[in-house]
Symmetry: C3
Subunit: 337 residues, 3 copies
Amino acid sequence: MQSFNHLRDFEVAEISELLELAGRLDEQPEPRALEGKVLSLLFLSPSLRTLASFQAAMTRLGGGAFVISPDMSIHGLESRHGIVMDGNAAEHIREAVPVIASYGDAIGIRAFAERRDLDTDIKETAFSALTDFVGDTPWINMESAMSHPCQSLADWKTLDDFNMPKQGGKFVLSWAYHPMALPLAVPSSTLHMAAMRGMDVTVLRPEGFELPDPIMREAEAVASANGGSVRESDNRAEAMEGAHVIYAKSWSSTQHYGQRNAEDQARLELRDWCVDEGWFEPARDDCRFMHCLPVRRGVVVADEILDGPRSIVIPEARNRMLAQMAVLHRMLSGSAT
Amino acid sequence: MQSFNHLRDFEVAEISELLELAGRLDEQPEPRALEGKVLSLLFLSPSLRTLASFQAAMTRLGGGAFVISPDMSIHGLESRHGIVMDGNAAEHIREAVPVIASYGDAIGIRAFAERRDLDTDIKETAFSALTDFVGDTPWINMESAMSHPCQSLADWKTLDDFNMPKQGGKFVLSWAYHPMALPLAVPSSTLHMAAMRGMDVTVLRPEGFELPDPIMREAEAVASANGGSVRESDNRAEAMEGAHVIYAKSWSSTQHYGQRNAEDQARLELRDWCVDEGWFEPARDDCRFMHCLPVRRGVVVADEILDGPRSIVIPEARNRMLAQMAVLHRMLSGSAT
Amino acid sequence: MQSFNHLRDFEVAEISELLELAGRLDEQPEPRALEGKVLSLLFLSPSLRTLASFQAAMTRLGGGAFVISPDMSIHGLESRHGIVMDGNAAEHIREAVPVIASYGDAIGIRAFAERRDLDTDIKETAFSALTDFVGDTPWINMESAMSHPCQSLADWKTLDDFNMPKQGGKFVLSWAYHPMALPLAVPSSTLHMAAMRGMDVTVLRPEGFELPDPIMREAEAVASANGGSVRESDNRAEAMEGAHVIYAKSWSSTQHYGQRNAEDQARLELRDWCVDEGWFEPARDDCRFMHCLPVRRGVVVADEILDGPRSIVIPEARNRMLAQMAVLHRMLSGSAT
């Protein structure tokens, strides 16, 4: 495996194999599988779960990781092409990325969307500008503008762990209120994952917060090929009807993408998009609640949900580590002694 | 061992076994004892020795550690119950703690006292609010409001290493001047440790800096059960009479606890509480000097002491690593392959 | 090997053995050579390559490293002798260095020049004040005022890897423009390395930017003993005549050392000291470009050079890891089980 960038790059059967490996590594540890192997971690955006779970994953497999983030250093990183670097930044990504990559057997890179132009972000222009420089080193997307494949692999495993049906399983991906405009990576990836798993997916969101058209279209095709479906709704009761699981997440308005004031304005009236027990009325009794974390209590979701039996956010977060162990094992153990 | 929170949770014989193990691991390394094992380190308060010694300890045993501190992230951690999180903090300890714990085979947590209300701190209300969420993961107190058990285990080993008598050994725990109000964790833990070791302990402190009554009473009972004693004094010469060791440490005024101005005022006239050679006049010739570090030279203790033969602060600090190796080995090697 | 501080402490044959070991460890990994071994990394100056490459090096050999930098902590580090520490710093290097060293099987220390007085920096007064306190722990200079031996060892390997002749090889060490006054460690070390390798070295620099006299004199003697030579020039065309390699680096004016305004003034007219293709006119067709990184594009060197076939800065940076693996292996594997 030369890169782990998006679930679309894999067959369903390959995902299944990764998930099986993740489960096996949890039950039958392989503490020498990656001995002497190094994972370089480059964080251009902040992180807690990703930072912790990747380091833990490498340790469990007998290797190790190191972390580089620009705030560690006076050397800010420049990314513009052809610029005369007489300002603050002392290093360009054209040197930093290949060097950091060259110290590892694999490199993980995290860089959020710029959120200036939606098309640019959908095309992953900024992220590709980074991965273009990794050279021969296998690389992992630790969250880009539109993709968070490690989260989605963990989410898929979580759905399996809690026996959610594939075909016929009702998956609600719901927008939620948040005081800030957040990236589209998790909702886009989640949509793709649930569609690829063959579920019937409803994207529940207020007007102005539609997911980008190319992402919806791709998910529809993927769902259709796997026995599932994708639809949109702004009607909570209708969307939640018979749901097996609701996956809440706030994301930026795509109507006012990158326009801070208009975006803030658009969210003003939407504070009631906070998932509470009332939302589950039309759902299955055992409908579960998922979220990628971090989550704002009382804003995105009520305490009663997070602290009650519906929430599976903690095992979901732990699955980050297991999913990543599978990816790293597949990516690196082939070349192990 | 499910937790390492306070020496009071252990029998003297169990402490002896841990110290024996610490010594053995120093002389006969076991670089595969914890292979593939992960220690999660959550620092809600800053650290140098703890940060370094726990990472070193895990590496020496063949495992690894990762570090999370709130300043690594935009996600400040919220700890208040039932709060609507529409401010800066993006994550609540109710998610962060169980998630971080779930990535490790054990978790270490460090959180200093809030220092608003003495009773609340004595009850470890804030620290328990953290450890309540670790789930099934074994946990280690890396310093709470009133406890620093790893320091105390290291200190006990240091007293053994330098052949300090148990019963009949004279241990002076002395307050020292410091420009800031410092926590009570180290003096409280040190007092308990020396009492449990069966020593004759004198708490030397100016008026207003008495250790909290419940902590003194518990130490008296523990000392008495182990052939030692506990007394208080504000008379330096009397306290130091025949002493085998003086353990210096600054701590907050318990009379003006959490009241910054009154506390500062109370310390104003106490700058002469800086340990120098004169203090040792009534002590044994070979009386030693201990301190948990970091220590302010010329403020808490004179250079002549730190740089002279009385000081054993460097081996004392190294014993942090060895003591923690023993705790980790006991806690985690049972489940090793 | 008790310390790795400067190439002058080694025979050419010993350097060759280290480089051979570096190459072997790259081709035949030894992921258990340093199992259970700990490298303490103390960064008093910022870093990216050094931070990453030392951690990666230890992992590849089966051990581990931990990182301490003063900004991790409220405990700023005091280094002045005999000071009363009633200011911000809560810890003195006299405690911090031996304690951090005591947790490791080796310690790496990085501390840039103070750049107040040239003679003091040449004498490594500040750096010696640190290494004097490491006790028995073997130590590695990760860049001091005048020495960066790990960079130089990596550079030597890079010259070998690209088949640069030793005796008869023409090595140009060139000053380059930079908006800030930079340390002398890399140019001084590079000069010594190329001289020790027996090359014909030209130090190309504008007036006022001569390397310090004692460093030039030592390099001349070393070159002469190894069949090479050292000369200075401010004439680009003459210096580059027949060159096999140009090593660019900015450094402080030695004429205005530590005088910020005069130093800035001295650089004002020197913005054309940016290496571009024109510089290579009198050189060999296959003349290579080296730089220790980070490098400012369009300031120190033109994009066309860095992105073209002359540049070997990425393999040069990767050699940092390999060179350090050799040093660590030699330093620590003797004491391995």
